[in-house]
Subunit: 217 residues, 2 copies
Amino acid sequence: MMFSDAGGFTLDDIPTDEVDRQEGVRRPLADAVRDLVDATIRTTVPDDEVRAVQAEIEAAVARLRVSQVPGPRGIRYNGEGRSWSWGNAVVGAHNAIAPPLVIHHDPSGVATSDVVLGAAYEGPPGLVHGGVTALLLDHLMGETASGFAKVTMTGTLTMRYRRGTPLGALHLEGRIDREEGRKVYVVASIGDADGPTVEADGVFIVPRWAADLEETR
Amino acid sequence: MMFSDAGGFTLDDIPTDEVDRQEGVRRPLADAVRDLVDATIRTTVPDDEVRAVQAEIEAAVARLRVSQVPGPRGIRYNGEGRSWSWGNAVVGAHNAIAPPLVIHHDPSGVATSDVVLGAAYEGPPGLVHGGVTALLLDHLMGETASGFAKVTMTGTLTMRYRRGTPLGALHLEGRIDREEGRKVYVVASIGDADGPTVEADGVFIVPRWAADLEETR
């Protein structure tokens, strides 16, 4: 049984054990698809081989589509406090577009993430696409603002590009700068071993319905 | 024969006809992989079937990796003025992460793009990930600033989120607001049939070496 609440999240009564088990089976498939995205970009095999592999992929798609949800995956949670957003474009375990980012929250409120970006995230030659740094920072900052407790929506987001971000190992870091009423101000950066390449600040808004909910707690 | 110039672009002496032919063979493979990314997110087939499809995908990856470029694809161009960036995260025809965006430039300097985003681009339930709108706007604005002629790098980028961006058919639009010395100011938006959902402005910088090059022309 499931229903959607005001925020569009869906309560789903699957026990946490079963959520973890399903995730464990499907994550390696998504990892294989991530590898395929990279191989598709970099391959130089002959045309006939490209066409043969294409036919294999189309057959695999048909097998997976025998049974599927009618639209996007959304965000689900159960009564035990476990939530999962398998299709999320940044952190979704089952989404081959997502690196996926794994975000750690330390008790002081700082959120960090380490990620390795390959050929699929390229913009300028050898560098991460500037929009990809914005994509990852937007997500990290949203999670920093909400701190796993509060509901927030992005208000504004400003990115300052200091230098090119090389493909490879990268580090992201975000923290709450200050809060004013329903506004949460977050600062963050992404960078390599030599320091930040892109710095960002954002204003995140606690929706009125969520703020009202908090007051009644 | 190929070599890299100051901007990291690579001159490649493949004739345009052959570039087009190779692109035509490899594009349908990338389209099949895009479809697979979506099917992987949405499938509900039994665990054994998931594992069987995973094995098929791993075999396909091995076939493609028999011959491949050692790293990312970069940006190439030939002596006929044709350039191609097959691996680009937003417009790369061979990159299954890219929708890919197709950008039109009208003579007045306005750049537009129409795109349909599905389950793989989800953030909040049923909505496009805010960072994905930033990813697409960053690219459109960069191309608007460079106007297919000038080299520019992103300086700063500010996004204002007006309301959620629904998954489905979307329209992007960008134009140069003004230019000051080596700075190009660009404004842009993404939205649905009801109007803009996210508005953006950005400052793009013409690198000194490129500005110097232009003066000597």
